[in-house]
């Protein structure tokens, strides 16, 4: 089996700060990480390889420094790593990104036919969940999003059975290979990199493809030109004119503060008073 895993390098958003005066993003010193959702897909790909054999190729689109994300994937056990990097990609929205990545997957398939493509459920910086479905559509692959478990895979019969999270339950789906899967978070636990893996990652020559090498003939399909959407403005949320009514009391003890708060909640909000009354009925009813 040849499995391609698409990963993205993202800023660790928990460490992004907004400048208190200018309200702009302070990006300096924010560490870059592999998008956490992608790691569930990487692990699942490695498990499939352990089960049925084959090759895992990791693919990333981004600036040259995104190579670090690919090395990380190699350290966990991926076989090949390709970085698609070109200034022409700058400003790509999800439609343009899926075009570039789909084209790269097609190129990867020339060497060894691709049976399965994995993407993360979404990224933590964009949160759109659109690139996976976009790649599937462009490559005419069946799309299986929010997969929590792969029940069976049969490379000979070219079939796969998965569990997919739907709104009110779990679908058990069977489809034909090749297909594209996005894994649900928590569906597996990423392995540790082995010593050998870490050494291999350090020495591994990550392939760099520009847009031409990625098979993109028409540069107007990527970057700003290939993006139907445009960010018109970025802004900080409007501060509320009214700040919270800060609860205070003479003693300042937690008990008195709590009692004062509760009194305000129930006297000023009749609906809450009724609700809090009901809550009590429920508790004693249990």
């Amino acid at each position: 089996m040849h499995i391609v895993v698409c990963i993205k390098q993202v800023p660790d958003s928990s460490q992004i700060r907004v400048h208190p005066v200018t309200n702009t993003i302070m990006r300096q010193g924010v560490p870059a990480v592999v998008n956490p959702y992608d790691l569930f897909s990487l692990e699942e790909a490695l498990r499939l390889k352990d089960r049925v054999g084959g090759r895992v190729t990791v693919l990333c689109m981004g600036p040259p420094q995104a190579e670090m994300a690919l090395r990380k994937a190699i350290s966990f056990g991926a076989d090949h790593a390709i970085l698609v990097t070109d200034r022409a990609f700058a400003g790509s929205d999800t439609l343009a990104t899926s075009f570039a990545l789909a084209s790269a997957v097609r190129q990867i398939g020339r060497d060894m036919a691709v049976d399965l493509v994995f993407c993360g459920k979404q990224t933590i910086d964009g949160d759109t969940a659109q690139v996976g479905p976009g790649i599937a559509k462009r490559l005419d692959l069946q799309l299986l999003t929010y997969v929590s478990q792969i029940d069976a895979v049969d490379p000979e019969r070219r079939e796969i059975v998965v569990r997919r999270r739907a709104e009110g339950g779990v679908q058990v789906l069977k489809t034909r290979l090749p297909c594209l899967i996005t894994m649900l978070e928590g569906s597996n636990e990423l392995r540790f990199a082995t010593q050998a893996g870490i050494f291999r990652a350090a020495r591994y020559p990550v392939q760099r493809w520009d847009s031409k090498a990625a098979g993109i003939e028409d540069p107007s399909r990527v970057g700003l030109k290939g993006s139907p959407t445009v960010v018109r403005k970025v802004f900080a949320p409007t501060p509320n004119t009214q700040r919270a009514d800060l609860i205070s009391c003479e003693s300042g003890t937690p008990e008195d503060l709590a009692a004062t708060l509760l009194a305000k909640l129930t006297t000023r909000n009749p609906e809450l008073a009724a609700l809090l009354g009901r809550a009590g009925m429920q508790e004693t009813g249990r």
């Binding site: 400048h19 400003g91 949160d127 599937a136 069946q142 058990v172 802004f235 937690p254 009590g280």
Partner: protein, 361 residues
Amino acid sequence: MNTPAARRPAGRKLELDPRLAAYQGVWVFVEHERGQAHPVSWELMGEGRKLADQLGVPLAGVVLGAPGEPTRQFCQLAFRYGADRCYLIEDPALADYRNQPFTQGLTELVNAYQPEILLLGATTLGRDLAGSVATTLQTGLTADCTELTIDPENRSLAASRPTFGGSLLCTIVTLNYRPQMATVRPRVMDMAPYEATRGGEIVEHPLRLVETDILTKVLDYIPDNRQDRPQLAFADIIVAGGRGLKQPENFELVWELARVLGAEVGASRPVVQAGWVDPERQVGQSGRTVRPKLYIAAGISGAVQHRVGMEGADVIVAINSDANAPIFDFATYGIVGNALQILPALTGACRQHLALTQRAG
């Protein structure tokens, strides 16, 4: 550079091709599963109504389903929640959600009847479908919008959403492409008003796809045991905890208050990432959006990423030791103090209050 990389539409066409100007009307995809319409459909209908009125165009619902499913009832509901018209595809292949037939159906409808705006819920189904349809139609799609407005200058849709991990908001427009697509998460918008006497016109359309052409088959469907899963989206009261609780074992204080109030338990992203709490309880941009009557946030600073998930609450109580925490800028009531002390005190006070109201009742 510290400036956000807002992309300039320099040299790119903003004015609409005449061919695209023919795209008119606002559509809302009516999502349903197992005979139940998803409430996000009616939340979107309310928003769609406002957009349609502003543009002076009709509002339509889109219903895809199988014969035997209550599709016509969903159309009637769509009218009562504000739709003027419903586009309906009924086909056995649409019995369970599968990407291929739903993408085909919705794409066909768009190409046949040409709406200018298409809204879907940002659910597992809606996100799966929206991404595929937008790619097929080669148009723009903005995910997880928190605000939708019409630009009066050029009648285009301005969709705002959190960005940079939820620390800022951005407004996104779709250039010379139609329809303009957007998804909105459940509970972000208010429900549309229900008018029992409203009616509308149903337009039926064929699917043009047979089961043998569909490569994915549904082998089984295992419904969730609803009691097993947290039901944050529709909870009346939520008690949520954040990093200010300092230790995972201190989160028990949140559970205790929630038990007394019969409330659901929520959490901020850092504590979910630290593994203190089930990810299904995460409130915020990358978690759930909630609209309870009362939201109690303990030890949560109130970053935009969290705020967008809970600011729809009627009353917000914030407990935080940092008087400058952003949460005090939008909470209704605040207590500046140590959550580890305030929470047990509040639990005690609530228990006492409930015992009293009980006796009185």
